[in-house]
Subunit: 69 residues, 2 copies
DNA sequence: ATTAAATGTCAAGTATATTTTACACAAAAT
DNA sequence: ATTTTGTGTAAAATATACTTGACATTTAAT
């Protein structure tokens, strides 16, 4: 898994810090950092919460057309 | 969380059993059953794997426009 | 040059996703 | 009638998402 630049970009577009996003979705700042860093696997509930805050959809932030295969 | 009828329908459209889908994505049948039953919260990796097998996207199977708010 | 804010990372703990084994029930097949 | 296949569900164990607290580094501000 590579870094999730889409989340980072969407967050930046709203001028939110990792801490801001973390508080908005109710997780720790480290969790947001880990998601953007990309080396892990959040739950769909958290992904959906992030999407709602950042005004994006799951496909926009968490779908990759070319994952492998 | 309500039941996920979208996964159930997409699976039925391909004439796959819960067991078939479970094996295709590499989890237990109970996990698929629990997802369709809806009372829980899979990881995005598993959701993505299910989407790939069922030839759907995250938005199609796991996004709900009207969750709450 | 210093301070503060934002980010990256780590280790130990807690919460929960997922497995395994097992059993009950419904529907379809024989 | 009875066997088989698909589904719903539960309890105990394991894997892993997520937290907490802490520290280092970067970036922007003063």
């Amino acid at each position: 898994m590579g870094r999730n630049l889409k989340v980072k970009a969407a967050r930046a577009a709203l001028d939110m810090t990792q801490k801001d996003l973390a508080e908005a979705v109710g997780v720790s700042r480290q969790t947001i950092n880990a998601i953007e860093k990309g080396d892990y696997n959040p739950t769909i509930k958290l992904c959906t919460a992030i999407c709602r805050v950042l005004d994006k959809t799951l496909n926009e932030l968490f779908w990759e057309d070319d994952e492998n295969v």
